[in-house]
């Protein structure tokens, strides 16, 4: 029989059409045209109930969804490569002791091939932005991973006992080695961690007790062999003494390449946050912003003139109460604060330091801050879930609010029927 049966023809057509539809659904259709004036930002997609990445075009005033995760617990973020040719998305999946970080690169020009790189680690990845120097992306987890964005080749240097915060200062790659607390370290054997402390040999327990806490180490990474060259160290206690509170360094510093300074937010447990400025030799300045209340600060950004630090500012209040969040411009000399109100949110210090950030445009004229990732309407009004762009050239500091894709206003509440019944 040389003729196919009609049923075979129909079924083969169904299979072929199904495959083509499958491919189209998997690769996606929407295109976008980057012009270097766009902002990529993570958001909580209300329809999909998932984290997504969107791109806001400042000239066209449009927002386009670029990527949607399918897990609510996925931490996703995006940044542009320095040459503007790629959008880099990264997402972190994880449980208590094992994390997987995935970096996706979407070429701006024709959107394919999308490349991805992933690895697992025992500590969670850096907060955005990841450090990029000369076309290589550096990630600090259980060591240093250098990812060449052109060849996609990697180079790795393992480091134990320390988590690394990597950041670029011009063309230099700097690091802060953060000592890993005992509970953060993955035990060699899971059962070992469940052994009661009394079973340890007494002399070993005594030695452990006497060991001084490991300090933070600041320094520079040699990009050729990924070796570390320490500049100075500072302990938790020294930072707490300076800030006069029980303090932690909030990840991702602002850097000023012209003067070689870096500024970190110091998160205080029960007092207003402060800013610590370091240079190559150690602490050079402690800043206490002159603003009322028990304030929390986001990561800082350095103004191009080096005289002002920008940071998101929120005043701690009682639980279940939305309070004003704004952009603070903190003068380094007087520590005076100019505040531009943005929106009202309710955030605990942990959520705030991890989830809210500010980002300065490359020319230093605009500042973006993103509240579109806050998903609970107990923490933010539906109307305020947005990306905010503050025009720093405008004396009035005009704020542009940009809602993410699939955002919808809250439906109006139905009127109460009680009064109608009374009238009857």
């Amino acid at each position: 029989m040389l003729r196919p049966r009609a049923l075979s023809l129909i079924l083969a057509f169904i299979a072929f059409a199904g495959w083509i539809l499958f491919i189209l659904a998997c690769t996606g259709w929407p295109g976008w045209s980057p012009d270097g004036k766009q902002i990529a930002f993570p958001y909580h997609d209300l329809k999909a109930d998932a984290t997504g990445i969107a791109v806001y075009d400042r000239e066209q005033k449009t927002t386009t969804g670029l990527y949607l995760t399918q897990k609510n617990d996925t931490l996703a973020a995006a940044q542009w490569s320095r040459d503007g040719k790629q959008i880099l998305l990264y997402q972190i999946f994880g449980d208590d002791d094992r994390f997987a970080t995935e970096v996706l690169s979407i070429p701006v020009k024709d959107r394919h091939p999308i490349r991805s790189y992933g690895f697992t680690s025992t500590v969670m990845g850096d907060n955005p932005p990841l450090a990029e120097v000369n076309g290589t992306l550096y990630l600090g987890l259980d060591g240093i991973t250098a990812l060449d964005l052109n060849t996609w080749h990697t180079q790795q240097e393992s480091i134990s006992n320390y988590g690394l915060i990597l950041f670029a200062m011009g063309d230099r790659l700097l690091y802060v080695a953060v000592p890993r607390k005992e509970e953060e370290q993955k035990p060699a054997c899971p059962a070992a961690s469940q052994q009661p402390a009394a079973r340890k040999p007494p002399e070993k327990a005594a030695t452990e007790k006497e060991e001084p806490p490991m300090p933070y180490e600041f320094g520079e990474v040699d990009r050729k062999d990924l070796s570390r060259h320490a500049w100075f160290t500072i302990t938790d206690q020294q930072i707490s003494d300076l800030a006069k509170c029980k303090a932690d360094l909030v990840t991702h510093p602002a850097t000023d390449a012209a003067t070689g300074r870096m500024a970190f937010t110091v998160a205080c447990d029960d007092k207003p946050d402060a800013l610590l400025v370091f240079d190559r030799n150690g602490v050079s300045q402690l800043l206490r912003p002159k603003a009322e209340g028990n304030l929390l600060l986001t990561n800082p950004e350095w103004a191009r003139d080096g005289k002002i630090l920008y940071a998101g500012l929120y005043v701690r209040g009682e639980n279940n109460q939305k309070r004003q969040y704004g952009i603070a411009e903190i003068a380094l000399d007087t520590q005076a604060v100019r505040l531009t109100p943005v929106a009202r949110i309710d955030a605990s210090s942990g959520d705030y330091h991890d989830g809210v950030a500010v980002s300065l445009s490359p020319d230093g004229s605009m500042l973006a801050t993103n509240l579109a990732l806050i998903r609970s309407e107990n923490d933010i009004d539906r109307d305020d879930m947005a990306l905010y762009v503050v025009d720093l050239r405008d004396p009035q500091r005009a704020v542009t609010k940009v809602h993410p894709p699939n955002w919808e206003p809250k439906p109006p509440e139905a009127p109460k029927p009680a009064s109608t019944r009374k009238a009857q």
Partner: protein
């Protein structure tokens, strides 16, 4: 696996990929299932040589239908469901794509009637192993799975070409007969 990433980039979004041994695969979780399912389906067809009974035709159609609600995100789901539905779709797709070349080459004579349940069990045998290798496997396991997926993609492409060739050939023969 750069060359595989390049090839799969034309047919796969390459987001939501398994990362055996910490290395992200060049193909997404659903497409991995699809192309491995495609390869396994051909293996089943060649080894079991089951005659295309009505029950088998319906079963493969249902396997393909399991994919759309998940592939088009009508139902929330995770990586395992993505791979499983992709696998089922691949098994059904290749079964359907084999029918025309089999008709034209008159391959029915090599087939025999097979009971459905053992066939279904045989069709699902590799699924747990694929999921285990993808979730807990080493880097080597990831490379092996990626190569098998590439073989599945090549097979699906060849079958589409074979279908086109078989239809064209049968049309030519039909026209020649009509002319004669």
């Amino acid at each position: 696996m750069n060359w595989l990433a390049q090839i799969f980039s034309h047919v796969c979004g390459q987001a939501h990929c398994w990362a055996p041994g910490g290395v992200v695969m060049p193909v997404c979780e659903r497409c991995l299932g699809l192309y491995l399912g495609a390869l396994w389906s051909l293996g089943l067809i060649l080894t079991l040589r089951a005659a295309p009974s009505r029950a088998l035709v319906w079963l493969h159609g249902m396997a393909m239908l399991a994919m759309p609600p998940f592939g088009y995100h009508f139902v929330p789901h995770g990586p395992i469901v993505r791979t499983v539905t992709g696998f089922l779709f691949g098994v059904g797709m290749v079964y359907y794509l084999v029918l025309i070349p089999a008709d034209v080459l008159h391959l029915e004579r090599f087939t025999s009637n097979r009971p459905v349940i053992p066939y279904v069990v045989a069709a699902l045998i590799p699924l747990p192993w694929i999921l285990l290798a993808a979730k807990y496997g080493s880097r080597l396991a990831g490379s092996f799975l990626a190569l098998l997926a590439f073989a599945g993609l090549a097979l699906a492409t060849l079958l589409v070409v074979a279908n086109a060739a078989a239809i064209t050939y049968s049309l030519i023969v039909r026209q020649e007969k009509a002319a004669a």
